[in-house]
């Protein structure tokens, strides 16, 4: 059943829904990158929760006019309006009061959600005996989704993705350095509005599949995971789209295999699994790689300190230093230097003296900026340059 679902073998509708969710995931992942880079990832949490009153109000309005309350485009319009109002409230609170954005986000998301819950109970009161089914918008559901709905979700996702591709340049510039971007004549307000507008569009499109509570995860988790793999914006956007797409695909497919597997949580958990993998194993910023680097770095620092202490006849202050020196055969167990230790210590001391000289010479200013007490000079200068430096050092330089 699982393989069938993953292979899109569960019928036309389930296939459509799965592909729609994948499209949604790609668009959300790519959009989220810009929010994340602008350090405003959690604004999307406010957007997500703030859609609830709009969905329910949309339902009430459509019923009041004698229509079918569950007409999806109507509900989406309501969602967009109230999420837009929520966003405006966040900006207003942040700009016009002393409150910071985090408080504004929390206040808007919880108050709008509360208002939505009040409206939900109003629907229950009016609809006595008939379930409106709006609760599925809380956590998302794809069971019983209509063909047209699945198609419109895929189309909406594709449209957002196209806009992201179109607007990526100004959005990157603004996310990275707003002041510089403004200096280049980019209209900050317009780009900010576009960024938020895209997040809002994704939220509204994905509401039915993932639900108001968890939609934010689609905008946050894939970009954060992608960022761990690369330092280049373009690559991060592509990766985030890929991770989001895979999450949507796996989540929706899994959810189609059994009746009580809610779609939204599964999509979120799929993306979290990809995130966890990235956090651990990404070569650039992953935990394993970073841990190894730190381990090596700490050893380098201790070793260098130990050698310098040896050369200048000073004590060391940490057991690790002594252990490392012994382990490399630089000192004997009783702390007396071996021949190798003496040679290495002399080299470290010469390096230190060369650095000291270099930093006072204007002609080496560029190299001096790379001084960190740790890097051997041979990593920074050519042998010829070192020879020139030794000339300044004078006869005692050779030590």
């Amino acid at each position: 059943m699982l393989w069938q679902a993953l292979g899109l073998g569960l019928g036309y509708n389930a296939t459509l829904v799965t592909l729609g969710a994948a499209m949604l995931g790609i668009a959300a992942g790519a959009t989220g990158v810009f929010l994340y880079l602008a350090r405003r990832a959690l604004v999307s949490d406010a957007i997500g929760h703030a859609t609830l009153p709009g969905v329910v109000a949309g339902f009430l309005v459509m019923v009041a006019f004698g229509g079918e309350g569950r007409f999806l485009p109507g509900l989406m319009l309501g969602a967009a309006l109230s999420a837009g109002l929520g966003l405006a409230c966040v900006s207003w609170l942040t700009a016009r009061t002393r409150l910071h954005e985090d408080a504004a986000i929390g206040a808007v998301l919880s108050v709008f959600f509360g208002a939505g819950v009040v409206l939900l109970t109003v629907v229950q009161v009016l609809e006595t005996g008939r379930q409106a089914g709006l609760e599925t918008f809380l956590l998302g559901a794809t069971a019983g989704m209509l063909r047209a709905e699945a198609l419109s979700i895929a189309a909406g996702g594709a449209a957002v993705l196209a806009l992201v591709v179109l607007l990526r340049r100004p959005m990157v510039l603004v996310a990275f350095d707003p002041e510089h971007a403004a200096g280049q004549g980019i209209n900050l307000r317009a780009v900010d509005l576009a960024m938020m507008g895209l997040a809002l569009a994704i939220t509204v499109v994905g509401l039915k599949v993932v639900g108001v509570v968890l939609i934010v995860a689609l905008l946050i988790i894939p970009p954060v995971a992608a960022r761990l793999w690369s330092e280049r914006v373009g690559t991060v956007v592509l990766l985030a789209g890929g991770i989001g797409g895979l999450s949507g695909y796996f989540g929706a497919a899994l959810s189609a295999t059994a009746p009580d597997l809610p779609t939204g949580p599964l999509i979120v958990l799929a993306s979290f699994a990809l995130f966890t993998f990235s956090l651990l194993f990404a070569p650039a910023r992953g935990v394993v790689a970073a841990g190894l680097r730190h381990w090596r770095f700490q050893r380098r620092v201790h070793l260098r300190q130990g050698l310098l202490a040896l050369a200048s006849g000073q004590p060391v202050y940490e057991p690790l230093t002594l252990r490392l020196m012994r382990g490399r055969g630089l000192v004997r167990p009783d702390g007396v230097a071996t021949d190798k230790g003496r040679a290495w210590a002399a080299r470290a001391r010469l390096d230190e003296r060369r650095w000291h000289m270099l930093r006072s010479l204007p002609e080496f200013e560029a190299a001096a900026a790379r001084h960190d007490g740790l890097s051997p000079l041979s990593e920074v200068l050519t042998p010829d340059q070192i020879a020139a430096l030794d000339h300044h050092l004078g006869p005692e330089g050779a030590l």
């Binding site: 002393r98 995860a217 960022r227 935990v287």
Partner: protein, 305 residues
């Protein structure tokens, strides 16, 4: 309205007020530490904590649920910290990753386990059911003096009262240390204050408040109780004591006004049944915040002279 009020409204009202209080107190410190959204994260992860506690203990009981939710809150804070540091990820985004994933896990576990059939269901988890916490034995104001009737009080009330008391005690005892560590963490360290333990304790206390309030108002509306009263109070005064006092006042007002509007508002408009009290409490707290943002004497912050 005496007897009916005591039976149907008194306990939910008291629980609502206590929940709002218990959340607003730690909320003040979270707000000033720019960790308002920690309240958001905590309240979301209460759900998986409760479900896991249920699966492990096999019953819906207060103590395991409290422990489960408290544990989940600490796990989430630790995870956020780990992700933030190891992955060098901005705190907001790290928070978003952790609490959405844990919440999703909680929902999935809930749907998959028998818990949904027993007592918990997803909607309850999202917005609580304050109205159901009624006192069947409370057949009049006299019942408050009747030992037997008192023993029929909903257990949620006792739980909420104990937690509210614990929160008040924590705030009172650690007030001075909390204020110093919140204002100037580096200086607090040089005084020898256990800064890290303090902030963990603050999170744990907030988690406790969130769990106790969970029954009544669910995991999302509780965020309004953490953030809105302290945020509104922040716009009213420039004194720490004053801010906490205002937030307590706003929290109480939201709870009472919200409950009354939800219960009686529709009647006044000619409808039969009430609307969600928890949702209305959040809405009222939002309206109070909006009013404070429009007219609070300290809404703009301070311009240096």
């Amino acid at each position: 309205m005496g007897a009916e009020f005591v039976m149907l409204s008194l306990t939910p009202l008291v629980i609502g007020v206590l929940a709002a209080l218990a959340c607003a107190l730690p909320g003040n410190f979270l707000l000033l530490r720019r960790q308002a959204l920690i309240g958001d994260a905590i309240s979301h992860v209460v759900l998986p904590g409760i479900v896991v506690a249920f699966l492990l203990s096999g019953r819906v009981a207060a103590v395991p649920m409290m422990l489960g939710a408290g544990g989940a809150a600490l796990v989430s804070v630790a995870l956020i910290e780990v992700i933030r540091r190891l992955g060098r990820i901005e705190p907001g985004a790290a928070m978003g990753v952790v609490f959405t994933a844990m919440f999703a896990g909680g929902v999935l576990l809930l749907e998959q386990s028998a818990a949904s059939g027993v007592h918990l269901d997803v909607q309850h988890a999202l917005y609580g059911n304050l109205e159901s916490l009624i006192w069947l034995d409370g057949d009049g104001w006299g019942a408050l003096l009747d030992g037997q009737a008192l023993s029929g009080l909903p257990p949620e009330l006792t739980r909420m009262a104990v937690v509210a008391l614990a929160v008040v005690l924590f705030t009172a005892v650690f007030w001075r240390a909390l204020v110093i560590a919140t204002f100037d963490e580096g200086f607090a360290r040089t005084l020898g204050l256990p800064v890290r333990a303090l902030s963990l304790a603050l999170v744990a206390v907030a988690a406790m408040a969130a769990v106790a309030a969970f029954d009544a108002v669910g995991s999302i509306i509780v965020i309004a109780m953490f953030i809105c009263p302290p945020a509104a109070a922040r716009l009213m005064t420039d004194r720490m004591g004053g801010q906490v006092a205002w937030s307590v006042g706003f929290a109480t007002l939201s709870a009472i006004l919200g409950y009354v509007l939800a219960g009686y508002g529709p009647l006044w408009l000619g409808y039969e049944s009430a609307v969600s009290a928890a949702g209305m409490i959040a809405t009222v707290s939002g309206v109070i915040l909006a009013l404070a943002a429009l007219a609070g004497p300290r809404r703009r912050g301070i311009a240096p002279m």
